[in-house]
């Protein structure tokens, strides 16, 4: 390296920060963090941009264990919030933010069409476009007669070592475990998880990996979400999707939810985005692309999406679920060997 190279490098390295700092946070547009899969959420943001002319600068999430997650990024940034809107893949993550006083209540005009069970009256969070927890079974390994009907089948001795679920410390499985604790009580939930462990259930790092394992025939069936199951079907995998416990306590329904964040720097644009996300059009988009069930009545859905009204849903109070999640963390870590 000669002196010219050195000077050129020094100059570039010194000048670049000045230029790049100028490209930093702008007051234009809106900043949205989302834990809804990018493949589904980005087209929604792009549609909003086309409709409103407001640019969306988004932060997306990875599968549960590839990163600390968008929620925890929001918490880590609490001292100087960067995001305006958080679109969560479930309704319990917002409670973590509410608890930490990071949410700005906003009752959107669009929320009036959504059921009360899926929103907070004070506008701290509003749910829409839901997934459900389902069993995904490999048809080559499981005959029609032997298809599982309940999540309890994960612990059935006949399926020892042949089932899978995602790590209950992360993602929607956390919420599912919290919901079971809220519905059954702590003792029954822990007993069930202990049975799962005794039965050799394979713990994956994410719902996507459960899907992968089932599709590949590594396991006979597993517990995952409807959007993962739908992707498997779209890929042409020879799998069956079962909504569990329809004759019993029901399947857990997980609405996505949206919150406005306290300290948002682009309030007007944030409200516009929230209003758009809660619109019937977005529920339709999510139904078509991600097999999410609209919560608003009358939204057209494709044939592969089961209407939520046709589903026996588990009765849960999402606030209680959030409380249970926090209460069970230590036990879950020990259960997972951590």
């Amino acid at each position: 390296m000669n002196r010219r190279h050195l000077l050129a490098l020094s100059g570039a390295a010194a000048a670049a920060p000045l230029g790049l700092a100028g490209c930093s946070q702008s007051t234009q547009g809106v900043v949205a963090y989302t834990s809804v899969d990018q493949v589904f959420s980005e087209p929604v943001f792009q549609a909003f941009e086309r409709q409103s002319g407001i640019r969306v600068r988004a932060v997306y999430d990875t599968e549960e264990t590839k990163s600390t997650g968008v929620l925890n990024r929001l918490i880590a940034e609490a001292q100087n919030p960067q995001a305006d809107v958080f679109w969560s893949g479930d309704p319990v993550r917002p409670f973590q933010l509410i608890r930490r006083n990071l949410v700005e209540p906003y009752v959107s005009p669009q929320s009036t069409g959504l059921p009360d069970a899926f929103k907070a009256a004070d506008g701290t969070w509003t749910g829409f476009a839901a997934r459900a927890r389902v069993l995904l079974a490999n048809r080559k390994r499981v005959s029609d007669a032997d298809m599982p009907r309940s999540i309890r089948d994960l612990a059935a001795p006949g399926w020892r070592g042949q089932t899978a679920m995602a790590n209950p410390l992360f993602g929607t499985t956390t919420m599912h475990v919290g919901a079971l604790a809220a519905a059954w009580g702590e003792a029954a939930m822990r007993s069930f998880l202990t049975d799962l462990k005794t039965n050799g259930v394979r713990i994956s790092s994410s719902n996507g990996e459960v899907k992968r394992l089932v599709v590949a025939g590594e396991v006979a069936f597993g517990l995952t979400d409807t959007d993962d199951a739908n992707e498997a079907l779209k890929d042409g995998a020879n799998v069956a999707v079962i909504y569990p416990d329809q004759d019993d306590f029901g399947a857990l329904v997980i609405p996505t939810s949206v919150v406005m964040l306290r300290g948002a720097k682009r309030t007007e644009a944030a409200r516009a985005l929230v209003d758009y996300l809660l619109s019937a059009d977005v529920e339709r988009q999510m139904a078509e692309s991600a097999a999410h069930m609209p919560l608003r009545p009358g939204v057209p859905t494709p044939a592969n999406v089961r209407p939520v009204s046709d589903l026996h849903a588990m009765q849960v109070d999402y606030a209680q679920v959030s409380d249970q999640i926090e209460a069970q963390q230590d036990w879950l870590r020990r259960w997972g060997g951590l």
Partner: protein, 518 residues
């Protein structure tokens, strides 16, 4: 010859370089470990045997990966560096390519090959893959090129007369085993440290293969619903001891040895040590294949399931974001590393202590460092940095500066101090002497920049936690799309990532390569 600079020229330059590293590394470390103070009951897990068993298990697994990588990678590096091999550059580049990707992607490729329903798989291969053995093999596959590459750099850098004298006295094999390898020990030791640190802190691959590792314990406090950075930082405390241990071991293996001989012709292109034999080409082809195979499997899987051609729709500005942040970070790392690496090679106090801090930052789980960076820099006064791509630059420098500094140090350590002394006696100033030392080890800058660039480009955990909204780098985009995105898109973007890395490294080599003297 320039007149000697003022006596403060050297110290002020070193201080400036040190400042680059300190500013990047120290605030997040303080912010990270500061979380321990005030967090409740953070030391309670240390009373459990389970924690220590998990720690020991992770050490053993990382040790196995390192040992296997060294056993295979050192001879492979000698082969690539000192044998006459047709298609040498192509095979070497292909072999190195797997290092460009986050480890999870090649492992996913192997899953498509050896999973129960894989192209070559069955129950037995699946059982092996999803086991400790599978983890060791998968991580070795990904990290082996670090050993190969650094060994090659070290082997090419040794004094030609040492090698030739050994070759004349004992033949090429003894020369390689007893002279080239020991003399290249600083570079090999560096490779060992890198592989061990990366293998130990890797999270995605063990979780995918369902092998319990210590970093999972740390991650459970940062990635779950219960965000507890204080606990996570406390759990990272043993890693401080680990970093110190790594440094001590490395120094025992490679440090402190004087280079007694002056080299004549050691810097130019010299004849291969080993004449061509057909089996060498076979080894080279195997080395290239084991790197390319999992990527090919990803692409085939992606092509089968569709979406390869959709990659263009999803790519956005991610490649530009990646290149911008990584190139800038690598530039800072090399500029600081060139100065601090020389200081480290000559056992300068500043170089030695900064190296220790930088190695600690490298060994820590990326998520911890990322959270620390957020705490340190996400303030109104520094929002201009945090909310721009500069936060990624800072993050990459914090995490990977040790690589650049140590690569320079390893190369400079092989050049005689007397040459610097000679320059000093004729009145050369600090910059001229610095240029002289770096000129004697031209491969050092290329290697340092390449390593810094490759690792910055492939970074995932820090990038995902910190990238500015709308400014995600390519790795982040690959993994955010991996969640239910078309398999073909993920495969295509992974291949594109490799291609971009190759091009970037190639450009760097072209810019930094030593020119033939007039």
């Amino acid at each position: 010859m320039t007149a000697a600079g003022g006596k403060w020229q050297g110290p002020s330059v070193v201080a400036g370089a040190a400042a680059v590293i300190l500013i990047a590394v120290v605030p997040p470390l303080i912010a990270t470990f500061g979380q321990v103070i005030g967090a409740e009951d953070v030391l309670a897990p240390f009373a459990t045997a389970q924690l220590w068993l998990l720690f020991a298990r992770s050490l053993a697994l990382a040790g196995a990966v390192t040992a296997l990588s060294l056993v295979v990678g050192v001879p492979l590096g000698i082969l690539f560096a000192r044998a006459h091999l047709p298609l040498q550059r192509l095979l070497f580049a292909a072999h190195l390519s797997i290092l460009f990707l986050p480890p999870f992607l090649p492992t996913l490729g192997w899953f498509h090959v050896f999973g129960r329903d894989g192209y070559l798989g069955g129950p037995l291969s699946a059982a092996i893959l999803f086991s400790d053995v599978g983890l060791v093999l998968a991580l070795t596959n990904v990290l082996l090129p670090a050993v190969t590459g650094l060994t090659a750099i070290g082997a090419r850098g040794i004094d030609a007369s040492l090698e030739e004298a050994a070759r004349v006295a004992g033949g090429p094999w003894r020369a390689a085993a007893f002279v080239v390898v020991p003399t290249a020990a600083p570079a090999i030791a560096l490779a060992g440290v890198i592989v061990f640190a990366l293998a130990f802190s890797e999270l995605g691959v063990p979780m995918f293969l369902r092998v319990d590792v210590y970093p999972e314990l740390v991650f459970s406090r940062l990635g779950g619903m219960d965000f507890a950075p204080g606990e996570a930082a406390a759990l990272a405390l043993p890693l401080v001891v680990l970093a110190a241990a790594l440094l001590w071991i490395e120094q025992r293996l490679a440090g402190g040895r004087a280079v007694a001989a002056l080299g004549g012709g050691g810097l130019g292109v010299r004849a291969p040590l080993f004449a061509f034999r057909p089996w060498m080409l076979g080894v080279g082809l195997i080395a290239a294949s084991i790197s390319l195979a999992p990527i090919a499997a990803l692409l085939v899987h992606g092509a089968e399931r569709g979406g390869l051609l959709e990659a263009g729709r999803w790519i956005g500005a991610a490649p530009v974001n990646s290149l911008l942040a990584s190139s800038l970070a690598a530039t800072f790392m090399v500029m600081a590393g060139a100065i601090l690496g020389v200081s480290l090679a000559r056992q300068g106090v500043v170089g030695v202590w900064l190296d220790r801090i930088a190695v600690l930052a490298f060994v820590l789980p990326a998520a911890i460092l990322g959270v620390g960076i957020a705490y340190a820099w996400n303030r109104p006064a520094t929002n201009w940095l945090y909310a721009s791509v500069l936060v990624l630059v800072v993050a990459y420098v914090a995490r990977y500066s040790a690589l650049a500094t140590r690569t320079v140090a390893a190369a400079v350590a092989q050049t005689p101090r007397s040459l610097d002394d000679a320059a000093r006696t004729v009145g050369a100033g600090y910059f001229d002497r610095l240029r002289l030392q770096l000129g004697m080890a031209p491969q050092a800058l290329i290697g340092a920049f390449a390593l810094a660039l490759v690792f910055s480009l492939r970074d995932l955990e820090t990038a995902v936690l910190l990238y500015p909204p709308g400014g995600e780098p390519l790795t982040a985009r690959i993994f955010t799309l991996e969640a239910n995105g078309p398999a073909g898109v993920v495969s295509a973007l992974a291949a594109l990532h490799m291609l971009i890395t190759f091009m970037a490294v190639g450009l760097a080599w072209f810019a930094l390569r030593p020119r033939a003297s007039a």
